[in-house]
Amino acid sequence: MNLVLNEEETILKRGAHEYFGERLPVAALRRLRDEHDADGFERAAWAEMADMGWAGVLLPEAYGGAGFGYRGLGQILEEAGRTLAASPLVATVLSAAPLVLAAGSEAQREAILPAVAAGECLLALAIDEGARHAPDRIATTVTAVDGGLRIDGTKRFVLDGHVADHFVVVARSHGAVDATDGITLLLVPAASAGVRVTRTAMVDSRNAARVEFAGVNVGADAVLGTIGEGYPALERALDGARAGLAAEMLGSGLEAFERTVAYLKLREQFGQKIGAFQALKHRAALMYCEIELTRSAVLAALDALDADSAEAPALASLAKAQACEMLELVSNEAVQMHGGIGMTDAEEIGFFLKRARVAQQTFGDAAYHRDRYARLAGF
C-alpha cells in the first residue's frame, strides 16, 4: 500500500491548489449564495476544469478521460475542499459517472462518458430517500410496463439534482424495502416526463434537490447492468464516493485548522497571543493528530480503490468515519477559537462549519460507517 504521493499526483495537487485558490476561493461560494445563482456553480470554471482533464480524471482514455484513478481525483478534491469550491466534481465525476462506467453497456458509456469528460454533461445520483444515508433502503420502484419500465418514488438530497442532464436512479424491481436484492440502477434523462425537480437551499450553499419520479416511463435500455442486480456496483461506486468526499473533507478540515492556528498567533488578549494559552494549544495539537490520521486513512482508501483491493470497503468506511469525526471537531473548534468574529457571516470560517455538517451526512456519517466497519469485520 502506497501512502505517499508520486510525482504526477504531487504536480496535480499543486496545480489544483493554485487553481482553486485563485479562481474559486471561499468568496466565490459566498457570491453564488448571495446572488442566488441559478446553477449553484460557475459553468465557466467547470469548462476550465474540464479543459484541465478533471471532469474525466477517473475515466479511461477511451472515453476522453485522464485515467488518474481515485488517488488523482482525491488530490483535486482535497484542494477543492480547501476553498469549499462548488463544482460538479462530487455529483458528476465522483458519484455518478463511475456507476455508468462500472455498470453501463458500451452504448450507454459512449453516450454519456465522453460528454462527461468534456464537461458537457452533468449527472446526479438519485439514491437517498430518508433523513439519513441508507443505500439498502430503497422504496422507489421500477416496474415493467408495455414497451419498457416505469419509475415511481421520491429522492432527497440529490446533489446537483437541479442542474443534472441525467439521473442515475437507484430503484427497486422486487424484494423488501431493505433487501439488497432487487436494487436496480437506471439512467434517466432529466427532461423525461414525470420528473419533477425542486431545488433545496442547503446550509452549506451547495447544490441539492428533491426529485420526484411520478410514473416516469423509460425504455428497457435505461437499465445500467442487470435489473435487480445493481447493488454490488452501487456499493463499489459509493465507496469511491465516500473516499473521495473524505478527501474533500480533509482539505476543508486542513484549511479551517490552518486558519485557526494563524488566528491563535494573531489575536491578543490579556496582553499576549491567545495561542500561548495551554488550554488552546492542547486542543490545537489534538486537532493536528486527528487531521494526520485522516490523511492516512484517506490515502489508504484511495489507494485500495485503485488497486481494487478486498480491503477497499472497510478502508472507505474508515476514511469517511475519520473524516467526519475530524471535521466535526475542527469546524466546531475553529468557530470557538475565532471567538465572536467566528460567529459573523463576514468571517469565512463559518462556511467551513456549514459545509462540514452537509459533507458529514453525505454518503453516511461516522455512526453509519462505524456500524458498517463492524459488520465488515464480523462483529
Partner: protein
C-alpha cells in the same frame, strides 16, 4: 540494488544456519535477555543466540565495527530486520544501552568512552539503567537537583533518582546531574558510573498494578572518575533531550505491544458479548469497539505513512511527534474498553475465580495508566506538538 539483494541472501543464509529453532518461537517475557554481569538465561539457547549475533555485530547492526557493530547502512539494517522477522527470530538482546545510551554516546562520547562502553553494550556484557527523573523533577526534568561536585581528582555525587527502570539489576547508570546551581538547563551534566560504587542504593517501587521494574535510587557520596563525564561540563541537557527522543520512540512502540497476550479489543468484546453470528450484542459497546479499532487502524496507517515518507524523502517533519501521545492514549483507551466489555470478569486481582488472562487484563489496565506519564506526559507531548509542529508561541 543488486548488492542489497546479495546482502539479503547472505543474511538469510546466516540466520537459517545460526538461529536455534527455540529462538524462532514467540518470546515469553520471562525469557527476555537483558544481559549484564548478573545475566540469566532461562533458556540456554538464548545465550548461544546472543553470542552468535553479537559476534557478527548484529545486536547493533548500524554501529561501526570497531564499537561492536556491523557497520550496516540503513537499507541493510532494514533488510536484516525483515529477514529476522521472516524467520520469526527473537530479538537476542533487550537493552537500554542499545536503545538509549548507544546513539548519544556515538555522537557525544569521547573516543575512549566509545571504546570502553559500546562493545560491552553490543555484547550484552553491561546492563544500563537511566537516571533521569527525581522526586521533584518529573515533567520539569531540568529542575533536577542531584549534586555532582568537583573534588579535584574525582566527582562526588549526592541525591536521589526515581522511576529508574531495573536499577536493581543494572551494572551501570547514565545519569543527569547538576554541576551548576546558578542556572537551570545550562547547569546539567551527563555522567556515567558503576552501580556497584559505594553509596549507591536501590529500592523497588510497588505500583497500583503490583510489583514493577521501577526503583528509587539513592546516591550518598558516590565517587565517580572525572573521565566519566560525557560531552563536556554543563553540556548535559542537549544529550538528555536527544536521548529522550530515542526513549519516546521506544515507549510508543512498547505501548503498541504492551499486554502482548491480551487480544485486541474486538476479540475480547466478542468473547464476552457476541451473539451466535459474532455480532456484539450491546449496541453502545459495539459502537465504542468499532470506533476504537478504527482509530487503531488509522494510527497504524499513519505510522506506516511516516515510514514511507521518510524512505522517500517526502516527510514534512513533525508527524512522529504525535506517536508517543496517540499510541499511549490509544493503549489506555483499549484497556478501559476491555474492562467495560469483560465486566466483573476483569475485576479480579489474584487467585481463584478468574482466568490468567482476566487477571492480566486487570493488572495491565492499571499499568497502562502510566503509559501517558512515563517518558513525557501526554500534556508535555501536546505542548511539543503545539510548539514545534504548529509554531504556537510560549
Amino acid at each position: 540494488m543488486q548488492a542489497l539483494e546479495e546482502f539479503r541472501a547472505e543474511a538469510r543464509a546466516w540466520l537459517e544456519e545460526n538461529c536455534p529453532p527455540a529462538m524462532r518461537t514467540p518470546l515469553p517475557d520471562e525469557e527476555r535477555v537483558w544481559g549484564g554481569r548478573k545475566a540469566t538465561f532461562k533458556n540456554p539457547d538464548s545465550k548461544l543466540w546472543l553470542e552468535r549475533v553479537a559476534a557478527r555485530g548484529w545486536t547493533v547492526p548500524t554501529w561501526p565495527v570497531e564499537y561492536g557493530g556491523a557497520g550496516l547502512d540503513a537499507d541493510q539494517a532494514q533488510v536484516l530486520r525483515e529477514e529476522m522477522a521472516r524467520l520469526k527470530c527473537r530479538q537476542p538482546l533487550a537493552s537500554f544501552g542499545i536503545w538509549m545510551l548507544g546513539p548519544v554516546l556515538l555522537k557525544y562520547g569521547s573516543e575512549a568512552q566509545k571504546r570502553e562502553h559500546l562493545p560491552k553494550i553490543a555484547r550484552g556484557e553491561i546492563r544500563w539503567c537511566q537516571g533521569y527523573s527525581e522526586p521533584g523533577a518529573g515533567s520539569d526534568l531540568a529542575s533536577l537537583k542531584t549534586r555532582c561536585e568537583d573534588q579535584g581528582d574525582h566527582y562526588l555525587i549526592n541525591g536521589q533518582k526515581i522511576w529508574t527502570s531495573y536499577a536493581n539489576y543494572a551494572d551501570w547508570i547514565f545519569c543527569l546531574v547538576r554541576t551548576d546551581t546558578s542556572t537551570k538547563h545550562n547547569g546539567i551534566s551527563f555522567i556515567l558510573f558503576d552501580m556497584a560504587s559505594a553509596g549507591v542504593e536501590t529500592r523497588p517501587i510497588t505500583l497500583i498494578s503490583g510489583a514493577s521494574v521501577f526503583c528509587e535510587t539513592f546516591f550518598t557520596d558516590v565517587r565517580v572518575p572525572k573521565d566519566n563525564l560525557v560531552g563536556g561540563l554543563n553540556q548535559g541537557w542537549t544529550i538528555a533531550k536527544e536521548l529522550l527522543q530515542h526513549e519516546r520512540g521506544m515507549i510508543a512502540e512498547i505501548g503498541r505491544t504492551i499486554g502482548g497476550t491480551v487480544p485486541p479489543v474486538d476479540v475480547v468484546a466478542q468473547h464476552y458479548l457476541a451473539e451466535e453470528d459474532g455480532r456484539i450484542a450491546e449496541p453502545a459497546l459495539r459502537d465504542a469497539v468499532a470506533r476504537h479499532v478504527m482509530k487503531d487502524r488509522a494510527f497504524g496507517l499513519t505510522i506506516r505513512r511516516a515510514a514511507q515518507e521518510s524512505e522517500t524523502g517526502t516527510a514534512s517533519g513533525g508527524l512522529s511527534s504525535m506517536f508517543k501521545y496517540y499510541g499511549t492514549e490509544q493503549n489506555k483507551a483499549k484497556f478501559e474498553l476491555i474492562m467495560k466489555c469483560a465486566g466483573h470478569n476483569a475485576l479480579g486481582w489474584a487467585g481463584e475465580g478468574f482466568s490468567d488472562q482476566e487477571i492480566e487484563i486487570c493488572r495491565t489496565w492499571l499499568r497502562s495508566k502510566g503509559n501517558s506519564i512515563e517518558g513525557g506526559t501526554s500534556e508535555v507531548q501536546l505542548n511539543v506538538i503545539a510548539k514545534r509542529v504548529l509554531g504556537l508561541p510560549d
